[in-house]
Amino acid sequence: MKLTSLHGNHLKLNARMGEFAGYDMPLYYDLGVLKEHEWVREHAGLFDVSHMGQISLKGKGAQDLLQKLTPSSFEKLGINRAKYTVLLNEQGGIIDDLMVTKIGEDEFHMVINAGCKNKDIAWLKDNLTDGLIFTYFEDWALMALQGPQSEAVIKDVLGIDVSDLPYMGLWYKDYTMFISRLGYTGEDGFELSVPNEAASPLWDRLLTDDRVQPIGLAARDSLRLEMGYCLYGHDIDANTTPTEADLSWIMSKQAKEQASPPTRKRVGIVLTDKGIAREGAQVKTKSGEIIGTLTSGGYSPTLKQSIGQAYLPIEWTMTDTEIDVDVRGKLISAKVTPMPFLKPKTKGKV
């Protein structure tokens, strides 16, 4: 199994480890999943997300290429601003979802999913035009500090004032640390990209602050689920399109005009009766017809009920539509709910 440069730090913290996308990753630490989840919503949680791929595309035509491979426009994106988008295959299916930061005109930094690294890199390389330089920052680590106290922690521990950094903005002074104000939790927070050798000391330093706790992948998943964010390979994949995935907000005007209206759409589902529905559970109409399958599902520690996502035929996607979810053969009442399930607390200004 592959290891991140913070692997030793996780073992020292007595993390319960598990495999994710070929990496031995921390699932949770001594606090446990529920408390870790709450900690991020109230304080600041530190995540190792170094398994994700950091790549860049630079040179004349970089923006054109990204606009060809994604449904998004980067023309109006400011320098040092990030945008969420997806890589599309020739059929319009989603190869991966990613964050793209514009570092300069025709220079973009991207963070891609761990499990998609190889195919994304191959896809980008296949599409490179003359004069474009592709770089894979294999020896860089990535950690996320998420939660309402993150800004203060960065100021107090690192001496860096990021109070003026807007949501989706990037800060860097030299080329030793890149701080982006974004994340996967719905909280105000940051992702810190540093060379591998700097990762372990930085991780330890951030943890010296009482407001910071290490958070594993289990809570990362429950936090993102509450926000209705997609998990690649589950909620989106090569067989789903951005419009089906309810991601038309990432699409350029042109891409929207070209897209055919979807016949199914990704929606949120909340169980109104007791029980927990997980990925794979069938969604049924009240008359018993199967209309979909949960692509993600689980317990929401904040709402204290079971939430999930599913693709349902358009006629079943109206808010408050009553449905059933089949959990081990038992039908549990549920309803279609807008996502995010909770109001995000990311910094408003962009």
Partner: protein, 123 residues
């Protein structure tokens, strides 16, 4: 009172009148992590040996609980629904009580020391 253990980490205590009290071990609880839901059996339901009679769910997974004996459910610990920590209690952490139909089914289950040895092999 004798306590026996299964390879799936259930414990089973035999009370008088062929009543078997079943719960899950500390090891099982620890492996599951934070619990968020428990699905209990209905009173009067009949399960055969090896059947799934309850489900204990943590944030990440749903773990089925199996009965090592055939019998009818004669008591359900409903207090667990509101307090998962109770599972840890030796006296109050039981999930359900069964009226056994065949005491011979207990043969082959592990005793305390055999279970401790078994735990060393599953680590």
């Amino acid at each position: 009172m004798t306590v026996k253990f299964t390879k799936d980490h259930e414990w089973i205590k035999i009370e008088d009148n062929h009543v078997a009290v079943i719960g899950i071990t500390e090891y099982a609880q620890h492996a599951l992590g934070d619990l968020v839901f428990i699905e209990l059996p209905k009173m009067g339901a009949v399960f055969s040996k090896g059947a799934n009679f309850a489900v204990v769910e943590s944030v990440k997974t749903a773990a089925e609980v199996y009965t090592p004996v055939t019998g009818e459910v004669v008591a359900v610990n409903n207090a667990l629904e509101n307090d998962f920590d109770l599972l840890k209690s030796e006296s109050d952490g039981w999930i359900a009580k069964f009226r056994m139909t065949d005491a011979a089914e207990l043969e082959g289950l592990m005793d305390q020391s055999a279970y401790q040895d078994y735990l060393k092999t599953v680590e």
